[in-house]
């Protein structure tokens, strides 16, 4: 089962993990969580603004999950990506992959986040106390 969610509101990592864990007999589950960090700006970060192209973002995440799901024989794959204004330490993205074996779950998870970072149409803008700028791509 593949689940893709793109929304501005936050998510509860424990709830999402537990929900998937109890819903399947597969024993291996891997999660990746990406959060807002204040490491790039010279001035303190006020917020991180994430813009996206809704139709295409959904399509890219869905196709990416589908590819990983089949290639690594997953039982569950969840991708949540937020947009809008986020604060330091807010969660941005959650990827959960579940499989019968850990190697498949790890590989699928890494593939999804790597592919997402260079292909999914989301853009980050850092708003600091002094200025605002678009984040450059870091594959």
């Amino acid at each position: 089962m593949i689940e893709i969610r793109i929304h501005p509101q936050s998510f509860d990592i424990d709830y999402e993990m537990k929900r998937i864990q109890v819903s399947s007999s597969s024993g291996a589950m891997v999660s990746f969580l990406g959060s807002v960090r204040d490491i790039q700006s010279k001035n303190s970060l006020k917020n991180l603004e994430i813009e996206h192209y809704p139709k295409m973002a959904h399509k890219v995440l869905n196709e990416t999950a589908k590819y990983a799901f089949e290639k690594w024989k997953l039982s569950r794959c969840l991708i949540i990506h937020r947009y809008g204004k986020l604060k330091i330490n807010d969660p941005i993205v959650l990827i959960v992959t579940q499989s019968d074996h850990r190697k498949e779950a790890f590989k699928a998870n890494e593939y999804i986040i790597d592919f997402l970072k260079i292909n999914a149409p989301f853009w980050k803008k850092e708003n600091t106390s002094k200025d605002s700028y678009w984040v450059s791509q870091k594959p």
């Binding site: 192209y53 295409m56 989301f122 980050k124």
Partner: protein
């Protein structure tokens, strides 16, 4: 033809979308970009460094891709999600 813009490209152009009439000789994405740049200087500022991607109907395409007149064409900078 419907054009939509995101992130830095949208900010430089000062609009998120527009419908434009393009001459019939505009066949490829490259033709379209050249047409936009010659048409208005703000496109030059947004597109001349070639640091952008183009998607037709939500699929990334190359500069020699033949445009369908009914497509939604999106122009945006390199993505930075995740």
């Amino acid at each position: 033809m419907k054009l939509i813009y995101f992130a830095k490209v949208r900010e430089i152009l000062g609009k998120s979308e527009e419908i434009i009439e393009v001459p019939s000789e505009i066949k490829t994405i490259q033709n379209l970009i050249d047409f936009l740049i010659s048409h208005d200087p703000s496109y030059k500022a947004a597109l001349e460094d070639k640091d952008f991607f183009v998607a037709c109907d939500e699929e990334l395409v190359d500069m020699d891709f033949i445009i369908k007149r009914t497509s939604e064409i999106a122009i945006f900078p390199p993505v930075t999600g995740g």
